[in-house]
């Protein structure tokens, strides 16, 4: 496997979390697991960036959390999208599309324009 560049994932954490929670409430670990499974292990959120992002997003009102029970009967904190979060997801997704397109354009440029 090629060396990963965690730098590149910087700035997409919030997009990925919002995206994941669109399918319903999940706990932190569940978010990371879902992302890994869905992307064939390509997207790996480290705890060090996942949890700070969750708290930040909760403070901003994009997410709300409640205590729930996990599959194996453990008490866990579940996060769900708020309506503000849904709006945010919309703009983040658009922003990502524009950004990825721009980068792609730079990378695919064969000659100086």
């Amino acid at each position: 496997m090629v060396q990963r560049n965690p730098e590149m994932l910087r700035g997409t954490v919030e997009l990925l979390i919002l995206t994941t929670l669109r399918g319903g409430p999940r706990h932190g670990f569940g978010i990371a697991r879902w992302l890994e499974q869905t992307s064939d292990d390509e997207l790996q959120l480290e705890e060090g960036s996942l949890y700070p992002a969750l708290h930040r997003m909760e403070r901003r009102g994009w997410l709300e959390s409640e205590w729930g029970i996990s599959d194996n009967n453990r008490k866990v904190k579940l996060y769900r999208l708020t309506s503000r979060g849904r709006a945010r997801l919309q703009s983040e997704t658009e922003g990502w599309a524009a950004f990825a397109a721009a980068i792609g354009k730079v990378l695919r440029a064969a000659e100086a324009v």
């Binding site: 090629v2 060396q3 990963r4 560049n5 730098e7 590149m8 994932l9 910087r10 700035g11 997409t12 919030e14 997009l15 990925l16 995206t19 994941t20 669109r22 399918g23 992302l35 869905t38 992307s39 064939d40 390509e42 997207l43 945010r88 703009s91 983040e92 997704t93 658009e94 922003g95 990502w96 599309a97 524009a98 950004f99 990825a100 397109a101 721009a102 980068i103 792609g104 354009k105 730079v106 990378l107 440029a109 064969a110 000659e111 100086a112 324009v113």
Partner: protein
């Protein structure tokens, strides 16, 4: 459009390397090129460009020399080193995979 600078930060090195892959340029020209190609979708501040350039130089991916430009101004011109070229290929491939994975994940839920 959300926090493009945050997004860009992670890919700035990649963009600089790619731009220098085409031809050696000065710092200013690199900044111009970035704005031009991306139609300002990538708002790279000039302030963050120079630290990145100097860091890449000291990592051995790019090298610099002082040259006279067209209007007889002295400018510091950056160019890709051979190891930098290999590094660019690898990082570009990484980006491809990563961005596709993100796009895939994002679309999946939209459906």
């Amino acid at each position: 459009m959300s926090k493009p600078s945050n997004l860009v930060q992670g890919t700035l090195d990649l963009l600089i390397l790619k731009i220098l892959d085409l031809e050696p340029r000065s710092g200013w020209a690199i900044g111009q090129r970035l704005k031009q190609v991306s139609n300002d979708a990538l708002q790279v501040s000039d302030g963050s460009l120079y630290p990145a350039l100097h860091k890449l130089e000291q990592q051995g991916w790019i090298s610099a020399e002082w040259r006279n430009t067209e209007n007889n101004r002295r400018a510091k011109i950056y160019s890709l080193t051979p190891p930098g070229r290999r590094y660019l290929r690898q990082e570009a491939a990484n980006w491809e995979r990563l961005s596709q994975a993100i796009t895939h994940v994002v679309r999946l839920t939209e459906v």
